[in-house]
Subunit: 337 residues, 2 copies
Amino acid sequence: MRALVFNNGLHYLTDHPVPTPKQDEALIRVTLAGVCNTDLEITKGYMGFQGVLGHEFVGVVEKCNEKSLIGKRVAGEINIGCGTCSYCQNHMQNHCPNRSVSGILNKEGAFAEFLTLPVSNLHLIPDSISDEEAVFVEPLAAAFEILQQVKILPADKVCVLGDGKLGLLAGQVLSTTGCNLVVAGKHREKLKILEEMGIKTEEIESINPVGAGFKPAPTMGDKGGFFGPNEFDHVVDCTGSSSGIQKALQIVKSRGKIILKTTIAESAAINLNQIVVGEITIIGSRCGPFPTAIKAIAEKKVKLSPLISNIFSLEDGVKAFEYAARKGVLKVLLRII
Amino acid sequence: MRALVFNNGLHYLTDHPVPTPKQDEALIRVTLAGVCNTDLEITKGYMGFQGVLGHEFVGVVEKCNEKSLIGKRVAGEINIGCGTCSYCQNHMQNHCPNRSVSGILNKEGAFAEFLTLPVSNLHLIPDSISDEEAVFVEPLAAAFEILQQVKILPADKVCVLGDGKLGLLAGQVLSTTGCNLVVAGKHREKLKILEEMGIKTEEIESINPVGAGFKPAPTMGDKGGFFGPNEFDHVVDCTGSSSGIQKALQIVKSRGKIILKTTIAESAAINLNQIVVGEITIIGSRCGPFPTAIKAIAEKKVKLSPLISNIFSLEDGVKAFEYAARKGVLKVLLRII
């Protein structure tokens, strides 16, 4: 089959073997897939993964022991637990220590004509959702994980740091709570996507914890002190930078919460005093609930099309990766069929 | 009055002015006070505080507009809020940005014949509690703060890292929950205090995140794997070292919680990936509920006398500080009367 394979470099192959589904798995013909920052990181050596990349996709079930699923359009959860450990038995297969993860860890991914996944990982996509929307189910679920972890009240002041793909999704998800929200980022054109949806944004020069660089842009109106210390009940760090959590610690209220979405290889230097004296809570946040994401898309609670920067054919996958790595680019999709 | 004053060095003075209580304050004649690590840190420049040190005390109300309190034995909460900010109005005066803190920030402390505190900060000490116990109310309350912040279930595996004063108090407090607890520390003689109370301990060579140094002492019996990765539902870091949180991240389960008690000036290098991928929660923890601590002492749920290393007179306060800074020393008390 055709596939985009990482193995001593990224290669488009036409003769990659079609995966064989196990007893509990479905064979899925992939329609459309999304390139995630994690994919870019893997091509730099993250996770040491080799094989077919990709974990954001929509496709059609081709083969499966559960006959009613055949021909159905699905998105798929990417973590496959062992099924027997205490995590799996407590519905936390996302945290199974022996898990495999599509396109990331011990399991081939979605940048190919076919992938396999356990039937229990699949979620039906209703007809009202387009392929271009469905491909966002996985990252949108990750944004909804924030609401699984933290109770956001309408009166809460919430700041999302970062205007990358995840920052824009997190902003939209948090906006559904009716909280007092601001999304802070460095890219006026990305923030504009949210502003057109009525979400308050703040253009900042840099996510610099020293403060001077974090002044509101003068044309953005009077929000004097909005980013002062002790301002926000919740701060969501989607910066992808180690300075994000430092800034978050500066602007979060005492007893406030920081939801950490940034995964980077380098360590961050963190002032423990700030955490203890302010009794701050820091919550790591990863994969989230697919049904919630699908429902939100179906109910038009989020707008995803403005997040698509470009669509490439699978054949042009290597080019797509180069494009996705460019500054200012948001979501890049790969059309498989 | 006699007082131990930090002002370009630590000095015992006999002519320090007796503080004048404000309208809402009581004048308290201090009986016994405890030296805390924070006091030692202040003498090294922490907080830039100058004046009478000390914030752990028991004393007798000498003067007060609320006449029923006069002659009563009390302990006192150390944070004094402004009374008008949103923190104060939400019963979080401990986090008031304009607070003063006895012996730490803009308010003279308890290492003196008298101190003043708002009446609302005072808690009556029942006759069944000795002065030597009552002086532990403040640090014991800080240990009980853990139970305010985190729900500990009997089936939970919990590790306290560190066998200093706070580690030993936290161990006793957590032991009241009936959880599967182990206190890990470097000092056999300190851990012995907990073992004699039936609390499981682990002697470790060092709180070294690299792992090799964190082997159980061979004579402590077979606890193989107790400190492996993904072991503990909750880890309480009382190490006072930046390596504590790194070790905590290694041994906590996915979706587990780290309660951070370590306040140190240096920053800790933290791997954000570990927090995000494991969806770990880190909770800063500081001052706690006095009534809970007083009740626990009155009901003999904690043993405090083994934690007292020495008692000095106020006159010997400078010597007491030198003694308290020695390796292996636990609580040092100052007898004021």
